[in-house]
Symmetry: D2
Subunit: 347 residues, 4 copies
């Protein structure tokens, strides 16, 4: 029985961790913290958990966290980095869903997040928790930096192209559409139903904080510094990210649809949570709603020598809490798919 | 008083024509046809028109059409081309919202629409009704081919870049997101609320029928054959198209944000329905819902030497019926903005 | 030319006043106030007004308000009552969209709003702005209390039944469903898209602040104290209220569908903004979206001797800003429908 | 291992059966039929099942159905009644999600469904599958008539009141709001996203086919013929029913909130899928989305001596497929909650 703590469980990634973990028999939710809600019953705050847990929110300082086997941080950025060192010292494994340990270049991180990092010495020890790339390192990691939602969908889509050196990596484009839950549960005007429904818009058009994280992963896959134009969009829905990726092929005319399809199928043939769709089928976010799957299609547009990859995930599951649990499963030697086999809710 | 006929008024572009025209004092809705609904009151079918019109649907064969000053066709493709010649012969001006006369190359049209064209001899006389390009020709036109919804948003976004020869026109990308009303009012499973809501997907990923129309316009603006990867997406909302356009600059490092902004502002400074947003503001489809405006922003991403243009319109207004009426206003020497000044419904 | 001021124009009733008034030639928007946004351009804040107005938000203390012919208050409750007296003294007509002057019994008002009223002596002079009841008094009023959104839909639905003394007025039920815009534009968690979409719930189940206002109007129509169970619900949409009203008939078996239909049609035959639907047709909020109309149907369920009335309006138009302007038109001797003839946006 | 057949699995109750059953280890999906899709892979048709099942759709005539232990019918009404008799003869248990065996009075059934019943002699043997009422009979049943979605929510809400004889059962009102999935997956104009989103309306205002089924259950609970005004509404969402129920108390002034709360809590204290909420908390359909729970609150409005019950369920789970599986669990002596413990997806 694995004892689990969750710090900052009142947002959407927190509730999703709780939904996925509360159904399991092989782990125990031991501590769920929230400064604002100390003493409140978790089930009163998240009505979908009524009758499923007796837990109450407690203070994050609580020594109970040190008695957990693993602690998830579902906090905003620049919070976890203060609390993680003592937990690691106490031998607790940490899975951080925030951005604090995703970027290996601390100067870059400090620039994008406009904050001094509290424990730069830990960054090299953090493993970037994308199992499709780092499964072996995850097995022995003490500290996991769970990838962001956009970075997961975009990296999984571009990886096969870059690893096979088929495309001009200086001219990558990622046009991503996200549901509103990606903005979290904060009461901000922009995410009111009356502001966000029935509309499409781009945001962070000049620069988005996920850019350096995506580039770090793609640079590594390409073995060189890539060039990426990443434009995120807000779509009028709750869950889901659809990333439409564009890359010009390197040697025009030397690529075929069949070749691309094989490259993608081969790359992910052993991956339980990445599904390469057959030629002629394309992803939709509804097909993965509530599930830990990422669906990918690859299409060659020969009239412009451009590869178009479509990548769909549930931003709260494969893009956050499901992937965090996938990491936990790997770290503790459990079946990687344990507790993540739920089928998408459709319709 | 201009007498107006509408053929095929039971779809969403039809109802939108009726909404916009029924409020005007300077035109009269004389004939509204529908084979299926002959004898039905228009207001019973479109409850938002209760008390606004006494018209009944009549047969399209009806001779009444010949007594109109102008007839709008809001029919599926390959319908209007059979009915238009006798109307033109009778001296009636025709504004065709369908695809029948949009493509000047009849072979290309027949290929994409998989149909023999019924009156290819008329095609050269049809004026492509994008007032921002063809205002002068529209003034004296007898037959207008109203641009498609995607082509309007995409052309308006790319035109300033191509006309100023700033970008590599062989590598254009148009990632467009459309509301479901673009699919019309047909009872097809894909557009059921339970199928289309709370999801994003791409469609027509290998090729979409609006591609040749867009290319025809962009070729002309560029003075050369451009290369375009156009990927349409279905967004979970009723109205609106947001086109995110990507173009690599020709001479890397020789372009600035200020220069781009000026080019766009100059291009559209006299256009009543194209609004170039100030630097730092970006379009959202909700800002143009129900209005005839197209909002455009231009952003230079210097790290990849890529221009990103965002273009938002209401697909049923500037992307169809509003633009059709704008054409009518120009053809009849009316104020171009007459009946099109409605402010977007927000929220 | 009527000079208009709007106090507190940053919420949804404010933006709706601006949308409806900015299109008119016979009135001038002179002052729009907001403490938070002083100096900000109105069009920058409400992007649907770009190019339509040069106004900037100013301070509400500003003396400019006294130079207006009429001032609208689109403020939360317990704000207008402090600012209105000096305006009335200066001869300015006031149309208050808030709750401050809706309840004639000041004790009742203070109880429900938990605040001391600032100018109880003005309450008897305030006219309740439901033109279908008080048109004559509105003509000469100096101070209008615009009815709330629920009260408008519910009173218009019950009035014919109570005035004709057909139902047992002690057992009225109003089950009302409102779009989220009824909650205003405040950044509260409950109204986030992720919280409010794809769900139905009731709220204020034990008591809602609109209860005394509705009862005041229904008591008057019935000539006796009525009994009402009013349950408001939050529907996952932006605009619209649908009220489903239930009333047991007084003399069972003595009422017919035809009789009810006639009573309703007669009651509203001269009302420009109340549409009694033919037997067999029923209201939907989409049919009145953006318009000032209230659609009503009446149905007799003889197996339970119960009358079922359905009443639909746009809560921001007939339920707030449209009705406020309708009052202004009546007060200034303008055509009652001026500026309110916009047809509902459908789809 | 229980072998399962599903007839007519292409609608929303069919896909929901598949979602819930495909995750279980103790049952095997053996046959899934569809006339239109013979030979098509189930996972190709329902993309959320990709990788979860190798089944193909087969013909319903297939003898394979007779080799199942239990067959679910997820067909429109008047279909199952032709196929069920031979299956029962072959010893197969049948769980019918359609309306064919819900009404014990065959004359009444034939009247409401406007069809001659194919096997009236079986009706008395069918057990109405509401476990909260008929658990003992379900254990030994051969043929289950699964309750409709509205009848489940409404009966569960009214039962405690009627069984305790507290209310005037001649004046019951059920104002129910349903998501669009209740209409099934048929391509009808009314359920297009553009028609059904962003709107509320009532339908079947004069009479709805679920009326006799609800009355049959309530009559039995009351021990007398009750009077019910049932008005269903279409809400702009996919899943969920919220029923708002009104009943006047019998002896005015003799009922208290505490008493009502106790009656409800006692009635459902042993029910795994009915949750009576604490005083002051109220149901929302989002809290049960994807789960088999029904949430109920009871409120006493003493100023009108009216009890208001709110009852929320997922129409496709507790209102259809989940309840069908709950019946199967009871029939086969499995844990009643097996496969139904999924937590609601929130947000």
């Amino acid at each position: 029985m694995i004892n689990i703590g969750i710090v900052g469980a009142t947002g959407y990634t927190g509730i999703e961790l709780l939904r996925l973990l509360a159904q399991r028999k092989d782990v125990r939710l031991s501590v769920v913290t929230s400064r604002e809600l100390v003493g409140t019953s978790v089930a009163a705050y998240f009505p979908n958990l009524r009758g499923r847990t007796d837990l109450e929110f407690s203070l994050p300082e609580n020594n109970q966290l040190k008695q957990c086997d693993v602690v998830f941080f579902a906090t905003p950025h620049a919070v976890a980095m203060y609390s993680i060192p003592p937990l690691l010292d106490a031998g607790v494994k940490v899975i951080d869903l925030s951005a604090d340990f995703r970027i290996q270049d601390v100067t870059l991180w400090e620039q994008w997040y406009n904050t001094k990092h509290a424990c730069p010495e830990l960054i090299p020890h953090a493993v970037y928790g994308l199992p499709e790339v780092n499964r072996e390192q995850i097995k022995t990691a003490e500290l996991i930096a769970v990838p962001g939602c956009y970075p997961t969908a975009i990296q999984l889509g571009f990886l096969p192209l870059l690893e096979s050196d088929l495309v001009d990596s200086r001219r990558l484009i990622a046009d991503a559409k996200s549901g509103v839950s990606g903005a979290g549960r904060k009461a901000a005007e922009d995410y009111l139903l009356c502001e966000a429904t029935e509309s499409m818009k781009a945001y962070s058009v000049t620069a988005h904080r996920h850019q350096p994280e995506i580039c770090q992963g793609l640079d590594r896959a390409a073995g060189t510094q890539i060039g990426l134009t990443f434009i995120p969009h807000l779509a009028p829905m709750v869950r889901g990210i659809l990333a439409t990726l564009y890359a010009p092929v390197k040697n025009e005319g030397n690529v075929t649809q069949e070749q691309l399809q094989s490259i993608f199928e081969d790359r992910y043939s052993n991956e339980p949570f990445v599904e390469v769709l057959p030629v002629g089928e394309f992803p939709a976010t509804r097909n993965v709603k509530g599930s830990n799957r990422c669906e990918i299609s690859v299409t060659y547009r020969d009239e412009t020598d451009t590869v178009v990859v479509l990548s769909a995930e549930d931003n709260l599951v494969k893009g956050a809490s499901g992937q965090a649990i996938q990491n936990m499963n790997v770290m503790f030697g459990l079946e990687e798919t344990a507790g993540l086999e739920g089928i998408a809710l459709l319709p």
